[in-house]
Structures are given as structure tokens and as C-alpha cells.
């Protein structure tokens, strides 16, 4: 796969989350009618609008939200999109290629590329993150971080000191399973 094909595939499984006024983040199609995003993106809203890559929008409701894990699961009836291919974050090594898609600063479907900056814990936090040397902006939150094969290995959650922090896919899988 080249980067162009990878970008196209990743864009198809990336949605934009909006309310009646504005866009506030990204989401990943996890299974055919459910979308994963960050808890801080879903915030306290019970409902969101979900905009697909083809420009059409649907209503979604928040099924589960875990502020600690910063993950939320949305139910979007009739979404009709293929689920993202998910890959293991533990195969990543420092230097491995990473690709993100999201809507930073309102730029829809923006692609950024970089590498794994470091693996393991960061600072005093007990959590493990995928730490990327990769440019993200506000609006990337909740969107996919993928490996060189286009498999989603994480959900972009934060920018710290210019570095991209993403929640590993294994954690997302656990969260989705627990949410039922």
C-alpha cells in the first residue's frame, strides 16, 4: 500500500463529530454502527451529529463514556461504514511510521505522518500511551492513529510538548467490550 491508498482507506473510517453549530472532534468507525471517540470530545452531550467522509450526516447517541480512560462509544444507527482495521500497538517500535487522520483546525480529513517517538510510560503517569513525533491539532482528538499497514493502533487524545499522545487500540478494545 502507498501513502495515498492508506490515507483514502483511513479517511473512510474517520468521522467528524459536530453539534448544531460547530465541529468539535473526530471519531473512528469501530464496528458498523458504532463510533469510538475521546470522552473529552463527546463531553456531556447525550447526542451528536456524525458526519461521514462523503459529507452526509447522521444522529448518534452516547452509549458509554469513561472520563478516566478518555474514551466514549457512540451508537449511530444506519452508519453503514466498514469498521476500521485494528492493529496491535505492541508491535510498534521507536521509529515505526505513524499516520493520523482528523479534522485539525477545521481542515477535514487532514493527513499527518510521523514516527513513534518513544514507547512506554510518560512522566509519572501509570498509563501507557503511544507517543508520536507527529503533528496533531485541535480537531484530531478522537481520530485514528494508524501504522504503516493502515491498521488503527490508537485513538489520538492529546498534544503534550509538541508530541502526539494516543490511547493504544488494546485499551479501546477493552473499553468497547466492557460497554457491551
Amino acid at each position: 500500500m502507498d501513502l495515498v491508498a492508506l490515507a483514502a482507506a483511513l479517511r473512510r473510517v474517520t468521522v467528524e463529530l459536530t453539534d448544531t453549530e460547530r465541529a468539535f472532534g473526530s471519531g473512528v468507525v469501530w464496528d458498523p454502527d458504532r463510533v469510538v471517540t475521546n470522552a473529552h470530545v463527546a463531553a456531556a452531550r447525550p447526542h451528536v451529529r456524525v458526519r461521514r467522509a462523503d459529507g452526509t450526516s447522521l444522529d448518534g447517541s452516547v452509549l458509554a463514556r469513561d472520563r478516566e480512560a478518555d474514551l466514549a462509544l457512540l451508537h449511530v444507527p444506519g452508519l453503514g461504514l466498514p469498521a476500521a482495521a485494528v492493529g496491535p500497538a505492541d508491535e510498534l517500535r521507536v521509529g515505526s511510521l505513524l499516520v493520523a487522520v482528523g479534522h485539525p483546525f477545521g481542515v477535514r480529513g487532514a493527513l499527518t505522518a510521523g514516527i513513534v517517538h518513544a514507547v512506554g510510560k510518560i512522566g509519572r503517569s501509570e498509563r501507557s500511551w503511544i507517543i508520536g513525533d507527529l503533528r496533531l491539532g485541535p480537531g484530531n482528538s478522537g481520530g485514528p492513529l494508524a501504522d504503516a499497514l493502515g491498521r488503527v493502533v490508537g485513538i489520538n487524545a492529546m498534544i503534550v510538548g509538541g508530541l502526539a499522545l494516543a490511547i493504544p487500540a488494546s485499551e479501546v478494545t477493552r473499553f468497547v467490550r466492557a460497554a457491551g
Binding site: M1, D2, L3, L6, R93, V94, G95, S96, L97, G114, I115, V116, H117, A118, D133, D147, A148, L149, G161, G162, L163
Partner: protein
């Protein structure tokens, strides 16, 4: 094999390969910097990150602590060399820094290892000109603590030392060939000697009439604006002299002048071709060693 996957694996391999010779350097408060095991028992880092001459601690790639001793510093190139006992830590595999061109994909490493990815964006850019080799300007992020770490090519070979201490605006790397020369000189003498004339100059355009009259090809020369008392320049140069060449090499820029005053010329007689009062003449000078204060 899939091209992107192959690139991804190559980059990860390069980090692993180069990372085997990367140390963390604790030589300033709070933020450790990075160092590279350059020759057996010698670690190179960025001079601006070595705030103290004693009590230096380094962390080996395997996480063990080891004491370091300062061998010497080269503030002009922002390099410092430390001696460590680490015979079982591999030395960096050096690449040919002369083979690096604008557009080459490179990695910058910090201790850990941590990594940053980008390209060489310019070589010898205006502010990054250096008297003994052009510096690499990098389009990548040198994260906190990355100064002193290796610039690594796609094969995992070290082609330079990164520093954010030379320029505020640019992320720079000192080419491996310059680093090797500096290490050799610091090990031999404990310091870097610089040739010195004691002259202040500015580049000027040689007037067309003067060029025709004297049959000069070069359009630029250096005008002498300052001569330090008692300096080698005071032997033969005057304020207002137009310096055209030194030992037959045309000089059009103060950086070229410094480049010609390399350490090996110290103590040697050189011939300056100058224009004084409209007349070309030759002046004999003896290159001195730059006093420590003015380095």
C-alpha cells in the same frame, strides 16, 4: 514487501542500531541531554548542555549509571568530549557526512531512545555557515534533551551531532567529519586552537574602476575596519586596506578568512595581497593563536 512497511521497519531498525551508542548526559540542572559514544571511551555531546566540569554522570543505553570526566570543549562548534569507562558499549557507526544532501531522510535521537523524523532542509544556510564545514539545517523537531544526540541516516549510521544551542531559529547538526576532527584535537591538546590575525573586516564591492586599473577578477574583497594593537595584523595591515587574498586564495567574506586561519597555520608566514592607496601590494604576516578571551 509493502513499501511503507519496509520504510517503517528501516526507520525502526535505524533507531535501534544508532541507539546502542547513545547515552543520557547529566551535566546541567533538571534536563539531561544526549551524548554519542564516538570513539572507545569518548562520548560527544553539545557543549552548551555541559554546565559543570566535574561530577558528570552519564546513563548508558542499558540504563546503568557511569561517571564521566570532561576531556575538552569547543564552544564555537558547541561540542564537548567526555571520557567514560564503557568498554562493553558499542561505538557509533559513523556515516559519510559529505554524502548527505538536502532532502535526505534523517532521524534525530534522544537518550531512551526517543526519536524524531524529518529531512535535511539546507546545508550551510546563511546563519549556519561555519569556518570548518557547513552545518546541516534540519526539518525535524529537536525535543527537550535532544541536543548532543546523533543525526542518523536511513541506514542507522551517525552523520552528525544535533544541537539547538547554535541558532535560535534553526535546528542544526554538526557534520560527523567535523565532530571527528574536533574529538581528535581535543584528545590531543585538550582545547581547540584557532589561528588569529587580530583584524576586523567587512565585505565590500571592489569599485569597477579599481578592478580595471589593477586587472582584478574578483568583485568582492574585505576592508579592514579594525587592527588590534600588538596583534599579528599590526605587523602589516592598516585600517582601510582592502584584503584581496591570503596565500593566493581569494577572500570575499569574513567566514572565509576564519576558514583560512586554521590551527595548522599558527606560527606560519602568510602573504596577504592588499590594495592600499589605490596600489596593489603584498604584505607578510605571521598567523598567531587566538587568545582564550576572544574565542
Amino acid at each position: 514487501m509493502d513499501r511503507l512497511l519496509a520504510l517503517s521497519n528501516d526507520l525502526a531498525f535505524a533507531v535501534q542500531q544508532a541507539g546502542r551508542a547513545v547515552f543520557a548526559v547529566h551535566a546541567r540542572p533538571r534536563l539531561p541531554s544526549t551524548g554519542v559514544h564516538w570513539r572507545p571511551g569518548l562520548v560527544v555531546t553539545a557543549n552548551h548542555t555541559v554546565r559543570t566540569d566535574e561530577g558528570l554522570t552519564l546513563i548508558r543505553p542499558d540504563g546503568q549509571s557511569v561517571a564521566g570526566a570532561l576531556v575538552g570543549r569547543d564552544p564555537a562548534r558547541d561540542l564537548a568530549v567526555l571520557r567514560v569507562e564503557a568498554t562493553d558499549v558499542p561505538v557509533a557507526e559513523l556515516g559519510d557526512s559529505a554524502a548527505i544532501h538536502v532532502g535526505h531522510m534523517v532521524l534525530a535521537l534522544g537518550a531512551g531512545p526517543r526519536a524524531s523524523w524529518g529531512v535535511v532542509s539546507a546545508i550551510g544556510a546563511a546563519r549556519a555557515r561555519h569556518e570548518d564545514g557547513d552545518l546541516f539545517s534540519l526539518d525535524l523537531t529537536l525535543y527537550a534533551g535532544f541536543s548532543g544526540g546523533p543525526l542518523v541516516d536511513a541506514q542507522g549510521r551517525v552523520v552528525g551531532i544535533n544541537t539547538s544551542g547554535i541558532s535560535r531559529q534553526m535546528q542544526l547538526a554538526i557534520p560527523a567529519s567535523v565532530v571527528s576532527r574536533t574529538v581528535d584535537e581535543l584528545v590531543r591538546h585538550g582545547r581547540i586552537a584557532h589561528g588569529y590575525l587580530g583584524v576586523g573586516t567587512q565585505p565590500v564591492r571592489v569599485p569597477e574602476a579599481m578592478r580595471q586599473q589593477l586587472g582584478l577578477a574578483q568583485e568582492l574583497a574585505l576592508i579592514v575596519v579594525d587592527v588590534q594593537a600588538g596583534s599579528p595584523a599590526a605587523e602589516g595591515l592598516l585600517i582601510g586596506d582592502l584584503v584581496l587574498s591570503l596565500d593566493g586564495e581569494a577572500i570575499t567574506d569574513p567566514v572565509e578568512l576564519r576558514r583560512l586561519l586554521r590551527a595548522e597555520r599558527i606560527g606560519r608566514r602568510i602573504t596577504a595581497r592588499v590594495v592600499r592607496g589605490g596600489q596593489a601590494r603584498e604584505v607578510e604576516l605571521t598567523v598567531g593563536e587566538r587568545p582564550a578571551r576572544s574565542r
